[in-house]
């Protein structure tokens, strides 16, 4: 029951967290910034509107974003927020979740291709390229996790035992894993320095360019999806990083929330202090991410047992 409540609150709060990020960016830019509830207003506004469909598109365009959203929602069900048992769990769910997200990505990509626009194709191509690199890095992270737990379940990694947590003294390479996870987060959620969700220069965008033709409620769903996806990755990272206070300690939840918000803030800071990479630099960045994860795994396998 606790888990369900936590899950629902997090989902509801996801747009808020993203708004925090925007606030941070505004702060760095020396602006007052938008209201914290801006994302909710946007969503309501969008849902009230109607949509314009391109005549080039087929039904895929109209269902793609829903499937993507469904995959993200389902993935979130597997996360043991603040160490509480998740709603769903089985051995192997980490792979399932990753592939489920790929399913979402598949539909995002083909929805983009459906418009027949060269811009959106461009975005799709880049997304496909970068995400396969990011995924490999993620698998490297899983390998290092498996080393501790010999299971393939997110719940098992982060739930009861304290093994996979940065605050565990013995696991010194885990911060490295944390860093690579953070980099993966940036990639998968199209944040700076990989992608700049705020630019409106189509040629440089990756994710945003793919949704150019969506409008109205459809766009609202897509926004929700992007909030939730960010939530997923941030929570995953949080689970690795947040300080724990023993089993069933009520401070756990507070600690979780604080860490989560810290992660959003750090994303915001990163976005503010860094510029977008040149596109051909991105693969290099991802390879570095992958190498970092591999390095961490090697150290873990070599020393941490």
């Amino acid at each position: 029951m606790k888990s369900l409540i936590l899950f629902l609150t997090l989902i509801v709060l996801a747009p808020l967290f993203s708004a925090i990020m925007l606030k941070i960016k505004a702060f760095f830019a020396g602006k007052k910034g938008i209201p914290l509830l801006i994302n909710y207003y946007t969503l309501i506004k969008l849902i009230q509107k109607t949509s314009v469909y391109s005549i080039s598109t087929s039904q895929i365009f109209q269902v793609g974003y829903l499937i993507t959203l469904a995959t993200t929602l389902t993935s979130l069900l597997f996360l043991p927020f603040s160490g509480l048992p998740p709603l769903l769990s089985f051995n192997g769910d980490i792979i399932f979740v990753l592939y489920l997200m790929s399913l979402g990505k598949f539909f995002t990509l083909i929805s983009a291709m459906d418009t027949g626009s060269s811009f959106e194709g461009l975005g799709a191509s880049r997304e496909a390229f970068f995400s396969f690199l990011a995924e490999s890095a993620f698998f490297m992270v899983i390998i290092s996790f498996f080393w501790f737990d010999e299971k393939l379940s997110i719940a098992s990694y982060f739930m009861a035992n304290n093994k996979i947590n940065v605050w565990n003294n013995y696991n010194f390479p885990l911060p490295l894993v944390g860093i690579s996870l953070f980099l993966i987060l940036l990639t998968e959620n199209s944040r700076v320095p990989i992608d700049d969700p705020a630019t409106h220069l189509e040629l440089t965008m990756i994710h945003e360019v793919m949704i150019l033709d969506h409008s109205g409620p459809a766009l609202a769903f897509i926004y929700i999806n992007s909030y939730l996806k960010l939530l997923f990755f941030s929570s995953f990272l949080t689970l690795l990083l947040f300080p724990r206070f023993g089993l069933d300690n009520k401070w756990n939840i507070a600690s979780f929330y604080i860490t989560l918000i810290c992660i959003y803030i750090s994303i915001g800071i990163t976005e503010s202090i860094m510029a977008r990479f040149k596109l051909n630099k991105v693969p290099k960045f991802l390879v570095i991410t992958f190498s970092l994860a591999t390095f961490a795994t090697i150290i873990i396998m070599g020393f941490a047992r």
């Binding site: 469904a70 592939y99 995400s131």
Partner: protein
């Protein structure tokens, strides 16, 4: 056994009838399709029912002293028989509307005959219990498939492809011959008997030889290069059979030899794994570079065979390391993936055939927007794509997941195995990601967007008999993906034969995720339904506008401005540069007022470019140099005799 014979008999009748009735084109097709599909269906059901049955059937017919037909049907055999019959069933139905050129009546009749022979020979391959039966049916299989490939022999490319296929199949056969020869040398028996007592180095030799032989059939890198030639050249239902079933015979062979040898050698395990990994990754990279739809699918066969072989490699290592879970997951995953691949790959070839049939070209660069006119083909192709990419809810995911499990188990072992496991895991991940890129490309460029030429925009949906198999296979993909438990069980029956010292285990100990997957998939569909309802309410009262695609203020976009498959894949392929060669053809602008400039870029396969072509070139040159032997001068001819004589006399 009775039904086994009856099935074969019915299929054979289905193959022979066309010769009697080819004057009446549709009657011929109806009868032939009816018989073959009936026989195949019987075969599927029969094998499925018998899977539970532990006893092994053995039959021997003695034709002559040497030629003894010996059959033995165990669970692995039955599993492969399910694959053969299942795909054969759908494929022959598909052919009913696919082969619709009545001016080629005789050829079509012959094609049905060869088709039935191919099916029967494959059944014999998997049930053969002695060397002679095996290689006989193996060669018949190669030969009939060759003739089926060159159905469109008017086309020069087809003939060339057939030639390449023929050479490779012959090379493979020769390797298999030699493996069997060594086997015979040590057992003195033409029967497939247990070989566990022969020396280890000989075992390794036998395994390596047969591995090369079977790998050339299975299409493992670098012996895969016939695949991207033969599959596009063949009619689509034949490509489906070849890619879906025939190349699996290579997998069967590897498993068969492995079982017979009771083989324990870590090096071969690693080697097999390495080949699997290389094929998997390079297969998909090359696939990404293709714009010929069937060639692309052919390279995906290389990829999937790579995955299967990876699974087998994991299984072998597991068995060597006495890690039961690893072995179990590796082999089960490989076997299940064999089934899965045969299903979704035939589905994709059917889809490709349907598209190519209606748009009259094979390059996806000329297609676009096909989903609007060809709803069923498009959607089933989408299902196939999702399955081959290994995405959840579809069958490909299940087997890949099991192989992942196996690979992760390896992390518990010694450092070298750990390393191998890491390689396997990462390559599976990479393969998954690249496959996603590849199939979003295909779906996006071929089926979505705007049609790129008139043929494509006027394409009509194919006939009903082409659609039925596609729908059927899509449903099977989905069923396996959502209810994997039963199919894992079937695969486990197949694996049974592989566990040489089998341990009784509970399926739930290892495969308890299968029920979870079912539940979660159902939940996913529930969520999806809820979202659809939400969407429905959002749009309920609103009027939706239609306009052309937003192109950033540019007001007259044309279809030529669409993103092409080449540009889609380019950056990813460039990432793999040393393993993919680029061949560009570009004339520089040399005048003040330049004419039309063309830029042509092609991706080349390193196996073909570096290995095969160089060998061929070397042989050509070498033998060219020797041709002076036959120079026509009689004096020197007699000189040869004298020289030979003198040399020999000096040597005694």
């Amino acid at each position: 056994m009775g039904i086994f014979k009856l099935t074969i008999f019915i299929i054979l009748i289905g193959g022979l009838i066309p010769f009697a009735t080819y004057k009446n084109f549709s009657l011929m097709k109806i009868l032939s399709v009816l018989f073959i599909s009936l026989g195949s269906l019987m075969g599927v059901i029969d094998s499925l029912f018998k899977l539970n049955n532990k006893e092994i059937y053995n039959v021997t017919y003695k034709l002559s002293d040497i030629f003894i037909v010996a059959l033995s049907i165990n669970n692995l055999t039955k599993f492969f028989m399910i694959i053969i019959y299942l795909i054969s069933f759908f494929s022959v139905i598909y052919s009913f509307h696919y082969l619709n050129d009545s001016s080629k009546a005789l050829r079509t009749a012959l094609s049905y005959f060869l088709y039935s022979l191919l099916i029967i020979s494959m059944i014999f391959v998997v049930s053969a219990n002695n060397i002679i039966t095996f290689i006989f049916s193996w060669e018949v299989m190669s030969l009939t498939s060759y003739f089926l490939v060159i159905y469109n022999y008017e086309d020069f490319e087809t003939i060339k492809s057939g030639y390449i296929y023929l050479i490779f199949t012959h090379i493979g056969a020769m390797f298999i011959y030699s493996a069997f020869g060594i086997m015979f040398a040590y057992t003195n028996s033409l029967n497939f008997i247990n070989l566990s007592l022969i020396p280890l180095n000989i075992k390794t030799l036998i395994f390596i030889l047969s591995f090369i032989g079977f790998a050339s059939k299975a299409g493992l890198f670098p012996l895969h290069i016939w695949l991207p030639y033969a599959h596009p050249a063949a009619p689509s239902h034949i490509s489906a059979i070849m890619s879906g079933v025939m190349i699996k015979m290579g997998i069967y062979g590897i498993l068969k030899i492995y079982t017979m040898l009771e083989f324990n050698s870590i090096i071969t395990g690693y080697t097999v794994l390495a080949f699997g990994v290389i094929s998997g990754v390079l297969g998909v990279v090359y696939a990404l570079g293709q714009s010929d739809l069937k060639k692309l699918l052919a390279y995906h066969s290389v990829e999937n065979i790579g995955i299967i072989i990876t699974g087998i490699g994991i299984g072998m290592i597991g068995q060597y390391e006495k890690n039961f879970a690893m072995a179990l997951f590796g082999f089960t995953g490989a076997i299940l993936h064999t089934l899965n691949h045969s299903i979704f790959k035939s589905l994709l070839f059917f889809g490709a055939g349907s598209v190519i049939h209606n748009t009259k070209n094979r390059s996806i660069e000329q297609m676009g927007g096909l989903l609007k006119n060809m709803k069923v083909s498009g959607l089933t192709f989408l299902v196939g794509s999702l399955a081959i990419t290994g995405l959840p809810m579809f069958n490909g995911f299940i087997s890949e997941l099991i192989i992942y499990f196996g690979s992760f188990q390896g992390l518990k072992q010694l450092p070298l195995t750990q390393f191998a496991s890491i390689i396997a895991i990462i390559s599976l991940a990479v393969v998954g990601g690249l496959a996603l890129a590849c199939f979003t490309k295909v779906i996006g460029v071929a089926f979505l967007g705007e049609p790129r030429n008139d043929n494509t925009s006027n394409a009509k949906e194919s006939g009903i008999f082409m659609l039925i198999p596609m729908i059927g296979l899509s449903l099977i993909c989905l069923t396996i993906g959502v209810f994997p438990k039963y199919f894992i069980k079937i695969a486990l029956y197949g694996t049974e034969t592989l566990f040489l010292n089998s341990i009784d285990f509970h399926i739930n100990d290892y495969f308890n995720f299968s029920t979870s997957i079912t539940n979660i998939s159902l939940l996913f569909f529930l969520i999806l339904t809820i979202l659809f309802t939400l969407k429905y309410f959002c749009y309920k009262t609103k009027k939706i506008h239609n306009t052309s695609t937003w192109s950033c203020g540019f007001s007259k976009p044309t279809t030529r401005m669409q993103y092409t498959d080449f540009s889609y894949a380019f950056s990813i392929i460039k990432f793999y540069k040393p393993f993919v060669l680029f061949k560009s053809d570009y004339k520089k602008i040399d005048k003040i007022f330049p004419n039309k400039i063309e830029y042509h870029l092609e991706y080349l396969d390193i196996a073909e470019k570096y290995i095969i072509q160089n060998i061929a070139k070397f042989l050509d040159l070498f033998f060219e140099k020797l041709r002076w032997i036959q120079h026509g001068n009689i004096h020197i001819y007699i000189g040869y005799i004298l020289i030979v004589l003198i040399i020999l006399l000096l040597l005694i």
